[in-house]
Symmetry: C2
Subunit: 331 residues, 2 copies
Amino acid sequence: MNGKHPVKIIGSGIYLPAVVSSATIEEKFGLPKGWAEKYSGVSSRHHVTFESNGFMAARAIEKALNFAEKRVSDMDLIISAGATFDFPLPNQSSVVKNELEDRLLSDVGTIDIDTTCLSFVSAFEFAAKLLDGRQYKNIVIVSAEIASKGLNSKNFETLTLFGDGAAAFILSFDESGESQFLKGGLRTYAEGVFHTHIKGGGNQYFFKDHPYDEDLHSFNMQGKKLLRLAKQKGPEFVNWFFKDSGIQMDEIKVVIPHQASKVGISIFKHTLPFEEEKFKGNISTHGNCIAASIPILLHQTIEAGELERGALCMLVGTSAGFSIGAVVFKY
Amino acid sequence: MNGKHPVKIIGSGIYLPAVVSSATIEEKFGLPKGWAEKYSGVSSRHHVTFESNGFMAARAIEKALNFAEKRVSDMDLIISAGATFDFPLPNQSSVVKNELEDRLLSDVGTIDIDTTCLSFVSAFEFAAKLLDGRQYKNIVIVSAEIASKGLNSKNFETLTLFGDGAAAFILSFDESGESQFLKGGLRTYAEGVFHTHIKGGGNQYFFKDHPYDEDLHSFNMQGKKLLRLAKQKGPEFVNWFFKDSGIQMDEIKVVIPHQASKVGISIFKHTLPFEEEKFKGNISTHGNCIAASIPILLHQTIEAGELERGALCMLVGTSAGFSIGAVVFKY
């Protein structure tokens, strides 16, 4: 059995840019009316106009701090958890800190964690294990993603699926016993390493030698292969995750699945032995916001009063690489 | 005082690509003979020819596993800690795993940590705090960096300073008491957020709208501003790090500073109250290898028999963002 960690969510906040309806996208790219909702399950999503990743992240953090009645100077670490970024250098968390109004009022350290769509989930586990009530009392995790810039105009599936947005959570060391971190875990299946891929822009297809080309520099997803792998590995992951965990699965009250795609979500519903009503979702109004999907949905679930203090909650999803990951905590 | 963690380094390995002498670079770019060694303190470094980040990382991991007499299937997590990458997606650690000969023999999870030059240092702290002897018994950290592709041919300082290479370490949960993790810490000073910068290639200067331009897409370093900030913040960081740490500074036997630059290293020697002979260095034969500098030097120090089991070792450095970070452990 795993050690429990005295960790409590004391605040959260989100930032969402302008709404873009599926009708607008369908019209712009000559798609049949209703295509997006039918195939992607998305009727609207948010896309940036003026916003940067750092800007959205900072606004989400400030809302979370306000809610928790804390300041940046109360924080002992800022984790930026995501796959997209403003600049190749410095790391995104430093850029996020610099976008905060109080950027110079604290020398709190900043670090980036990237497990693509599962970045928030991984950061949640790491933060929980860093929090010790001494050096680390409060940690901010923020996921701010801009997916809209890297989409291929010829690929209708991804074009209609992805959205932008940000969410921030403050995790605190709290020994009251009301809230606890129970378990986190991640498995990576190398068979699916390039089922989702952006080829160009790193060292392998360096900019200097490879001018912009939509196919090379856009997001590519082999949807069918991905779904087959998720179906195949899902049950194995669930067994691995819960074995010796000490967690009674039927005690889990709320499941926040990554909003990968309409079919991706349905696979999770088939793989996990939970009643339909425990699964939350927002894909129809937000699309897939990469690493920001899970924390945006978690924030909305809490705000709607659908996750009670002391209830068990599971965050779970798949990510590029190909990985499956989850955390379970007592909210 | 911080809790000590029962963590032991049980193996390490490095991979270095072909040697490039300063004479070769001076000749190629029309620099006066001897310029590189005089101004950068680098007489030779390694630059990739055919190697990718993932290739170098996998070879370093395999050497570390061999040394430790372990297999990939004994590992509970693979952390890729660095600033440069093969592809924008998936995350680098998934690419690294896929380069391992035994990639399909284990579904071990993989995650990326990026605090630029301090990535290995941050990953070391995180790994130490994850290791619990139950879910996490062994964690691999690998830093593999290719700096040579992003250099500006007009900037002689960076052109002669940077090198490529990789190093991997295996950290194990070990309660024998011989080895321990004592403390890690990071402080980020937003004043220096863009003192080191690669502007182009992220969402702010998206490649679609900003074709390759050497100034936009190369590494830019404001050396003087950076050194001034390091001098100013160094003593504050040292006070913050050691205060209430329970670490006796004079018990530290070996210091592994990031090989930032000739002057950068000298600032650390002035800021930290250690005898000159405790500082290790390899900048003259390796240059600055970004996040790989510290673990390559640590590996070489161990291999040379200059760090004894049970002795205290400090890893310390600066990174883009601007951050200062360190860990202290009993080897």
